[in-house]
Amino acid sequence: MVGYLISLGIFTATFALFSLGLNLHWGYTGLINFGHVGFLAIGSYTTILLGIAGVPMFFAVLVGVVLAMGLGFLMGIATLRLREDYLAIVTIGMAEIVRLIALNEDWLTRGGRGVYGFPLPFVNFNPNVPTKLGMIALFWGVVGVAAWQWWHWLERRYGRSRPPWLLPSYAALFIAGTLSLWAALLPLSLGRGVATFPFVLTWVTLGGAIALMSYYCRPEKAAVLVIALNTLAAALVGLVVKALTLGLWDFSYRAGLLWLLILVLALVVWQLERLIHSPWGRVLKAIREDEEVAKALGKNVFAYKMQSLLLGGAIAAVAGAFYAWQLTFVNPDGFVSLITFQAWTIVVLGGAGNNMGTLLGAALFWAYTALTRFIPLDGGRLEALRMMLIGLVLIILMMWRPQGILGKKEELSLGR
């Protein structure tokens, strides 16, 4: 259970990081990037190949980032001056070129046979007790800040008339729900079926938390859905938090990887939020809305689009390093265009132009993938069914809530 949750956590966080790059491109700058996986591929391959060559891991990732930015520069030079659909076409082509190079340049990437046995972080790392405690404390610090921010955000957005006891009771119900969910799932992971009492308790407590919060934001009906999905996603994150705390104590390579990944993710989200709310981010949003206006007001639109493309690509390249470290075996099949569209699903699901939405989208997407695994079908059919279901979910979402789960409805009704 701990191992499974940690793996799930790594996948979720990697895809969250990857999608944050895309959200910068599409959600904030309006660049249609259908080749985001190209940045991921370059980040992955550079990191592991340089790692095999003996370059320290930090520098290997750094070179990967620089090369991914190089790819972004090529894409940008070729297309950013043209209409935006050209960018869509060229990016998808570029990503395929990267994948095909990886597939065919056998001397470099071992082609379809893939690369394995590359150095991994934390593999020979045996922390003593103070180090472990320090890592756990740092992790909990990040979780604490994130939880506080999350609560603030939820409250700012929906808490209209909140009594002072709302936060403690919501938090208590939420924590009780997360712990009973853990208790319910633990026997399942040992093959002993679901424990009924904790399972019922989970729904009662989480349902109570959702109902409590929803009661205090009656003016907006859709808020109930957002709060419910938020609370459920947060409960899943809570499971991962508990798993990682246990995992860090009995230190394993994957626990270390997730720990590092969460620190990087927190850093990236924090800095992205800062940038988006800076004058620089304001220019990006202006370009998304109407680049002619930005131009008429003296902004060098090309330079800003390029910076956005490079920065988003760099973030994706970092995600690529973690992607490779998690898989421990990398071949070109891991970088098909489907990965790009999974990131698009995540961004659209959560609401474009909203970093919190992207995080929520990633959590929901991987919760979906994890849950559908238990549908009793063979591999191929399951895969097909999953794709159909997520497609259906997206269609329903687009009809019913086109702005995404966290998107603001007012934004849709605005005239151009």
């Binding site: 620089w280 949003k285 998304r288 007001l297 003296g298 902004k299 007012e410 934004e411 151009r416």
Partner: protein
């Protein structure tokens, strides 16, 4: 199509620039396929003036505007702003020289607040450089505060302060016109090209817009205005240029233009 005789050489036109001229464009040509939208047009705007540009629909006025601030590259001709040629500059550089424009159909940034629309317009902000977010965060915060204050002052002066935190996309057509002009003023321009500031606006608001233009003009901003509303043109402008079928038809003070038979023929038909 018959080729026109060769155009006035650039060197000659440069020598015709007077020190009192802020913007001079000579021999401007622009064709779209076989259509000569602007054909050897000339325009001069005196420093500190409000100058009008009129002409029947399809005369090429908006195209001329686009040529002046390089949103379109002219096929021929040259634009001189404050004594220096600007035809080779990209549009955003033209704006940084102090030559700003508005659009015929107002273009506001819908999903940004009215205040953000204003803040965006300030030129050369420290925080617009990506790395300055890390290098000079304090200076950015300070600048933002100053800009906010200036934006509030301007918004209050045009009566949009109550809407400052609304999405710009939620504004009515007239309010959008006001926001677009206020936004341009946030840039501290030397000259503004206004494309039909009074089109589709109710009479009360037209009067307000005219008052704002006069006030900004007194603060030292030069205006070139395309407008179909003759009352507005005649009351605001000191000098008027008339364009028809991409060519200069006439120019002069309002009283002269009003009685010019050629202008009347162009507007009213034969």
């Amino acid at each position: 199509m018959v080729d026109e005789p060769s155009l006035v050489p650039v060197s000659n036109s440069v020598s015709q620039v007077l020190p009192s001229d802020l913007l001079v464009a000579t021999g401007l040509c622009k064709s779209f396929g076989g259509i000569r939208a602007v054909d050897n047009a000339e325009i001069r705007v005196v420093r500190g003036s409000i100058t009008g540009l009129i002409g029947p629909n399809g005369a090429g006025k908006t195209t001329l505007f686009n040529l002046l601030c390089n949103f379109l590259t002219p096929d021929k001709g040259c634009v001189i702003f404050d004594g220096a040629p600007i035809s080779h500059l990209p549009p955003h550089q033209v704006a940084l020289q102090g030559l700003l424009r508005t659009f015929q159909v107002p273009r506001v940034l819908s999903r940004l607040s009215v205040l953000e629309n204003m803040l965006l317009a300030a030129p050369l902000q420290t925080g617009e450089k990506l790395w300055n977010s890390w290098l000079q965060p304090l200076r950015i915060r300070q600048e933002e505060q100053e800009l906010r204050q200036r934006a509030w002052t301007i918004l209050e002066s045009v009566g949009l302060a109550a809407k400052a935190n609304d999405y710009a996309g939620a504004l009515s057509g007239g309010q959008r016109k006001l926001l677009e002009m206020a936004r341009v003023m946030m840039h501290r321009p030397r000259m503004v090209l206004l494309d039909e500031p009074a089109a589709g606006v109710n009479p009360t608001l037209i009067n307000q817009i005219c008052e704002h233009i006069v006030r900004w003009n007194q603060e030292g901003v030069t205006f070139l205005i395309i407008e179909h509303n003759m009352d507005v043109v005649m009351s605001l402008c000191q000098h008027i240029w008339v364009l028809a079928e991409g060519k200069n038809l006439a120019d002069g003070p309002p009283s002269e233009i009003q009685t010019n038979p050629e202008v009347l023929r162009a507007y009213l038909g034969q």
